[in-house]
Amino acid sequence: MMATELVSISNAESFNVRGVENLAKYIFSRLGYMLVTFLVIATFTFFLMQTLPGSPFNDEKLSDSQKERLYEKYGLDKPLPLQYITYMGNIAKGDLGVSFQYDGRPVTNIIGERIGASAVLGAQSLLLGCVIGLFLGIIAAIKHNTSIDYIAMIISVIGLSVPNFVFAGILQYWVGVKLKWLPVAFWEGFEYSILPTISLSVFVIATIARYMRAEMLEVLGQDYIVTAKAKGLGSFSIVMKHSLRNAAIPIITILGPMTVTLLTGTLVIEKIFSVPGLGEQFVKSIMTNDFSVIMGTTLFYSILFIGIVLIVDLLYGFIDPRIRLSGRTK
């Protein structure tokens, strides 16, 4: 080859695969943060329990037998540092305490029983939201500055702004009460989940549509899109092969905060539609001052959230070759 003589200088760059090492380092640092964050939350919860009236540590409305059992179990007669250690140990074992309202049922039991409905609701909303949101965002970006774009953005702003309990109210009143198309409460089959799912997914749709549109516009303005066009690719192939992947990678990062919003959403939406999920239980526990259930659920939510953020982070690192291969964040 004629040209190879030219290149002797640039041979010095031997980037190659330090990648695996970098990815491992990345995972470890994320795991580290996850652990510290969880410790902070658990510690925070522990000290809050100390100050709350009606918690096992402040025993104004407990029966004597309950008290005895608790004292024994949590070593409440021991000094504070020891209590703390016992508490953390229990959490590590997966023991989140017992409920007072339900006569000593373990909190983990209650969570296990209630989580199903919430999970179905959350998964359905996320799925519906992602599909519609991505679709709206992509269409809006491709048809930038046309009426389709404007309509998609109006939907998005309204979806972001109008609180989900207002949406739920509108749906419940018009679709449920006035038109009587769908049941407005309880959880006895798929049709019961439609209205709560829609109410929950509005925010997801709006957020994803907005981000996807912005990312797509950004990507479509990049030089490599012009390069692809100059190669002779049609606009459909450009969108499918060059734009979608690059635009979707940053979208993954908002999935973490998104699940928090979904969690928040389940609290109100489950209450409004009387869905027997964890959120509804949580609100009920707040109303009835069932502190050990509140604390247990709180910890459970935290673990869930931290875990999801971790998965999202790892997924992001794995999908983007710039991070996967060199450990760089963008």
Partner: protein
């Protein structure tokens, strides 16, 4: 010659909120088979838009081809549908772009991106396409092609990425290759490699190339014919020799005069005053008239037609009309005659009147930055040199060599990891009282690279210029402050009305001059100019360089001129230090360095700068500096040694003997 492309009266306009911008206004040219046509012009001249229109890559809206024909092998591309264009793009006509860092898809392997080109246009099985892609990678000079096939773009350096882009563009043996400033973002030595690669490929494949650039040196290196664009029009077109040695349009005169020729020392560079017109409302008559010092009344009234100078040479200027005065000889012509084909020249040394007073002394300076994974980046690594009062010291080197870091250490923006910086024999990093530090800051000033980030967008020009005076309390009342600012504005060629305006209202060159005024406001002795002109167009560069020279003559300033553009550095500097990997490898008076370079890196650097002189470019041989080889058999660390008076080279003892012999011969 067979015409492969014939562009007739091409018009491209963009619809913006402010109105319609006529970016290209009636451009006509043709392209012969196998030749290279360069289109030169400053930013905003419409050269890139012209290039993109040929492949109908102008985003629509807002852009559209409003008139004209693009005849490719006799077929008019303007009437082609998008579908038809897709068949042309990448197969018959292909394109490479300016910035190799952004023109590849970051999440697709380079191999796949090249294969894509092949698969769209040729019905080949994937396996064969893959083999072909690997062959292409080899052809553009990427070693280990089989392995690198599945690497991602971020694993390649800028020059390598541009090679990948080229591989992608030539994948289907295009008849025309459009290169839109393909080397602007690269260092000179890499630029030289890419230019050479393009020439080799052209010879092999018989491709015609349209090469868009603003750099006349590159044009002289690569072009067979040249079209000069200004304000959306071609003002002059001809063979490369005709344009360089017998230009007819005053704008071409200006461009050639504004480029310092490494073999020429004039008192001043030719400048083109002012800035290009706003194409929202192009001026009546000749768009260049307002900046043309030879302008006649007719230039402001009627657009000049294209006059024929020879079969291949046309120019659009009224100066070629029979009634125009014939006695105009542009000043730059003297320069061309003197330098024509001359490889060496002697400078009339004017400002070395014997006594030299050390103003700045740098001793074994080091600056390390923490890198990733416990590595240190040795930005500056054992640097030593001196600067004498009243001189201009040029510091050159490619990106990442540590030249800017050096400037920032001297101005105390960064601290040194090790070593000393003595200013007037005092170490600037020794513990000092606040007032001593303040004094030092007053004496050492800095001019920055990016005219857009160098001025705070929230302050008026008056407040920007007066900032130093405010800090040092250099005035007794408001009136004195204003007067001084007005004085400075006039010094840098602006007027007092500009004082109340905000930075975004100025052009790049004007902003750079405001930055100079800010530095001058505190009456400094020593100015560090960190790439002050690299972001500016050629004609604007000359304005800034001339201003700096004028100021030096009037006030005896000392400059440290940091740049990567060696021709400008040579023009402005008395002495030059060449930096490589944080060290000085060679230091000498400008002429000595250019006429008698000793260090292989300097030699390769010098051989890589394209000179705006086609005859010379044809004669030149490029020298490649292979760092690995150069260091392999060295037993001792090279140190700076004086080969002859004032000429220092980093070398081992053995090399020292060799260099001395070499320099004796000359």
């Amino acid at each position: 010659m067979e015409k492969i492309l014939d562009v007739r009266n091409l018009n491209v306009s963009f619809d913006t909120y402010a109105g319609t911008v006529q970016a290209v206004r009636g451009v006509s040219f043709y392209l012969n088979k196998g030749e290279t046509l360069a289109i030169v012009g400053e930013s905003g001249s419409g050269k890139s838009v012209t290039a993109k229109s040929l492949m109908k890559l102008i985003p629509n809206p807002p852009g559209r081809i409003s008139d004209g024909e693009i005849l490719f092998e006799g077929k008019n591309l303007t009437t082609f549908s998008e579908k038809q264009m897709q068949n042309i793009r990448g197969s018959a006509i292909s394109m490479i772009f300016q910035d190799p860092m952004t023109s590849l898809n970051p999440t697709m392997t380079v191999g796949k991106q090249i294969m894509e080109s092949i698969l769209i246009h040729q019905a080949l099985p994937k396996k064969i396409a893959r083999e072909k892609a690997i062959d292409l990678l080899k052809m553009v000079g990427i070693l280990n092609a089989e392995k690198r096939f599945s690497d991602y773009p971020h694993q390649f350096s800028g020059g390598m990425r541009q090679r990948v882009n080229i591989a992608m563009a030539v994948a289907c043996n295009p008849k025309i290759l459009i290169a839109d400033e393909p080397t602007t973002a690269l260092d000179v030595t890499i630029q030289a490699q890419i230019l050479e690669l393009l020439k080799i490929l052209q010879k092999k494949m018989g491709t015609s190339i349209i090469f868009i650039t603003h750099d006349l040196g590159v044009v002289a290196n690569i072009a067979d014919r040249v079209a000069v664009m200004y304000a959306g029009k071609i003002v002059e077109i001809g063979t490369v020799d005709e344009i360089f040695y017998n230009p007819k349009h005053p704008y071409t005169w200006g461009l050639l005069g504004a480029m310092p020729n490494t073999n020429y020392y004039g008192e001043e560079l030719v400048t083109i005053p002012g800035t290009p017109p706003d194409l929202l409302s192009p001026p009546e008559g000749d768009a260049f008239a307002a900046r043309n010092k030879y302008a006649m009344k007719i230039d402001f009234q009627i657009e000049p037609p294209m006059y024929k100078v020879s079969e291949t040479h046309y120019a659009a200027t009224w100066l070629l009309h029979e009634k125009a005065p014939k006695d105009i000889l542009p000043d730059f012509q003297k320069k061309i005659k003197r330098s024509l084909g001359n490889e060496k020249s002697i400078r009339n040394i004017s400002n070395s009147n014997g006594k030299k007073e050390k103003l700045l002394e740098i001793k074994n300076l080091k600056r390390y930055f923490p890198g990733s994974k416990k590595q240190v980046i040795k930005a500056v690594d054992g640097l030593s040199f001196e600067i004498y009062r009243g001189e201009t010291f040029g510091l050159v080197g490619e990106s990442g060599c540590g030249k800017s870091t050096t400037g920032r250490i001297i101005s105390r923006l960064y601290t040194a990891t090790e070593g000393e910086v003595l200013y007037n024999n005092e170490n600037i990093f020794k513990k000092k009282s606040d007032s001593e530090i303040k004094k030092l800051h007053q004496k050492i000033q800095m001019i920055f690279q990016d005219p857009y980030s160098a001025l705070n967008p929230r302050l008026t020009v008056v407040d920007i210029i007066a900032e130093g005076m405010d800090i040092h309390g250099l005035y007794s009342d408001k009136k004195e402050r204003m007067n001084r600012v007005y004085e400075l504005l006039e010094t840098v060629g602006l007027n007092r009305e500009h004082g109340n305006r905000y930075p975004h209202e100025f052009s790049g060159g004007q902003r750079q001059r405001i930055g100079i005024a800010r530095a001058l406001a505190v009456n400094p002795e020593f100015i560090i100019a960190d790439e002050p002109i690299s972001a500016l167009d050629v004609s604007i560069q000359a304005q800034v360089v001339n201003l700096m020279k004028k100021l030096q003559k009037e006030t005896g300033l000392t400059y440290l001129f940091i740049a990567h553009d060696l021709s400008m550095v040579k023009y402005i500097s008395d002495r030059i230090g060449v930096m490589y990997r944080g060290k000085i490898v060679e230091l000498a008076e400008s002429d000595e360095l250019y006429n008698n370079p000793l260090h292989p890196y300097t030699k390769s650097l010098l051989s890589a700068i394209p000179v705006p002189d086609p005859l010379m470019e044809r004669k030149r041989k490029r020298i490649v500096y292979d760092e690995g080889n150069a260091w392999r058999d060295k037993e001792e660390e090279p140190v700076l040694r004086e080969i002859k008076e004032g000429h220092w080279v980093a070398c081992t003892n053995q090399e020292y003997q060799k260099y001395q012999k070499e320099s004796d011969v000359i």
